[in-house]
Amino acid sequence: MKIGTQQRRQERIDRGIKVRTDGLYALMSWRELAYLIAPRLLLIGGLLLLPLVVPGMYWLRVISIVCIYALLALSFDFLAHYVGLVSLGGAFFVGVGGYLTALLNTGMGISPLVAIPVAAIFGGVICTILLLPCLPLRGVYFAIVTLMYPLFLARVIEALNILGGTDGIMGIDGVPYVWLEQYGIIAMLLLILFGLRRLVNTDLGLVMRAVKDNDQAVRASGMNITHYKALAVFIASSVGCLAGACLVHTYMWAGISTFALDFSVLPIAATVIGGGGTLVGPVLGCLILVPISELLRDFGTLRIVFYSLILLGFIVFRSDGLMIYGQRKYHQFERWTDI
């Protein structure tokens, strides 16, 4: 407010075109259609074109990593903002998915193209079963348990010297064709992104959101909330395990570092920066954070300092994130009015 005594205030008003495109009328004109489709097209087209414009193999690899982190961030965002379960254990999903696909591939010689989806589904089942007893826990406690799981599993592998111990499992096949790997993971990301967006608006998704808002009322309506939470955890952990499986096949190595905190923290940071609860936001956040993190690789652990400071800044001062800000600018205009 520029004037000391508050004589003006800022108003936010929906743009006319936003109101016109609310209902079925959007189909009436190209302009309105374009208004609706443009952001989605920008994202899809951008992601698909990205591998063609970047210089060199190294950055192609970075794009794959972006997609993997984006999958993790999606799973975090879905669980935290649509079901109300804050899982700090992205690394748990990555590790389970990664080790599963590594075992399938090296142990049974299954092609990565089959091993990855199988690892995603079975990884989801395993994670869900392990997390099942924790589902009645509230906020902080669920977060702490999920944070502890990956650390615990890493120590188990280290101590028992199973699954390759500290050396990890080596000799994992990469995905046969480079372009298949590149576009396969981008396609999966887009599929899951739009799939989740669709899901949260179905009746099932409504129930999940209701569990987050007011679990007592859901119980009073005769629904078993643990059942819905378990379903949501299965979906999210499958997505996480998928990310882990892809990661392992990209690096052709699975080790304890798949349980590292990086996989828990960066997706959360991306979600906070991109805007939680939008599902697109986390993808956007990863598109920004991961390349920056790669550029800073030379500085060693300084990059972790860097992105944790960004995370801190966003969560404390700008907790709605970039995506919500962008949506507001796109759909609404602001003006000053006299009071």
């Binding site: 700090l88 902080v140 406690y141 702490i144 120590r155 280290e158 972790i304 801190l312 969560i315 404390v316």
Partner: protein, 288 residues
């Protein structure tokens, strides 16, 4: 005998780790994930005081306590107070702070070499055929004294009573004229000081390494969760439970398993009895 002595020492060490965390959680409802980072940071401050500025040990200790306390309070006042009450944001924000401090130290502070703090008293004594150095005995004595001091502080001083009032019912405390934001800052400062205290006592027993920041955090959480949030006695008992369990696993299974005990304790407690072993009537709050 060996188990008894080292178990006791380990337990007191765990209790020292956990005191600050328990205080901050009990009063501000902030699961302070930066606790371990503050612990390592204070070790680094003490080391700098002694080795770079060449101050004597006592000055270094006092300065470290004060500086860490102030850092904690400032962190709370600047950042965490803005996300107060939003549990998830608190966790993420304090975790981000922890990462920034620890990885910052790893980048700029500790590289390659080993860093140690001097012990207060040299030498050792033999108890029942086991030689125990004085520093470890000091840890036990001071740890016990600190618990007693905190108990007296929270039961008999004005600030202490205000803090307890806030821990029980913040709104009621507000109505009685207790500035809850100020008290939270004070509590965070005290919690950080306790972390520094633990660091000064315990770090001379080994090297200062960045990783210990994460371990201290896990151990502190384990003690608090097993003991039951908001219960002093529970925390102390849990420290002994986990402390002895750790020593026993080290003796019979190997040192690989030491951290697993704490992790397993957290997971099992939260699954089986989320209110902790000694927490009372918290069950309804924490379970759905």
């Amino acid at each position: 005998m060996e188990i008894l002595i080292y178990g006791t020492i380990n337990s007191v060490a765990l209790a020292l780790y956990a005191l600050g965390f328990a205080l901050v959680y009990g009063i501000c409802r902030l699961p302070n994930f930066a606790h371990g980072a503050l612990y390592v940071l204070s070790g680094f401050i003490a080391w700098t005081m002694i080795n770079t500025f060449g101050s004597n040990l006592l000055v270094a200790v006092v300065a470290t306590l004060l500086v860490t306390g102030i850092i904690g309070a400032v962190i709370y006042r600047l950042f965490l107070i803005r996300v107060r009450g939003m549990e998830i944001s608190e966790i993420i924000a304090s975790y981000a702070i922890a990462l920034a401090i620890l990885e910052g130290l790893r980048w700029g502070g500790f590289k390659g070499m080993t860093y140690t703090l001097p012990v207060f008293i040299e030498g050792s004594v033999t108890i029942g055929g086991i030689s125990v150095d004085y520093q470890r005995i000091l840890v036990v004595v001071v740890g016990a004294a600190l618990v007693a001091f905190l108990w007296l502080f929270t039961h008999y001083t004005r600030v202490g009573l205000a803090l307890r009032g806030m821990a029980q019912d913040e709104r009621a405390a507000l109505m009685l004229g207790i500035d809850s934001d100020m008290m939270a800052v004070v509590a965070m400062g005290m919690g950080s000081m306790l972390a520094a205290f633990a660091a000064i006592l315990l770090l001379p027993l080994g090297n200062i390494v960045v990783e210990s920041g994460y371990n201290v955090l896990i151990l502190a959480i384990a003690v608090c969760i097993v003991g039951g949030i908001g219960s002093w006695m529970g925390a102390v008992l849990a420290a002994f439970l986990i402390g002895f369990a750790q020593i026993l696993t080290v003796v019979y299974l190997g040192s690989h398993y030491q951290m697993m005990v704490a992790l397993l304790a957290i997971i099992l407690t939260l699954i089986l009895k989320p209110s902790g072993l000694f927490g009372q009537q918290k069950e309804l709050e924490e379970r759905v």
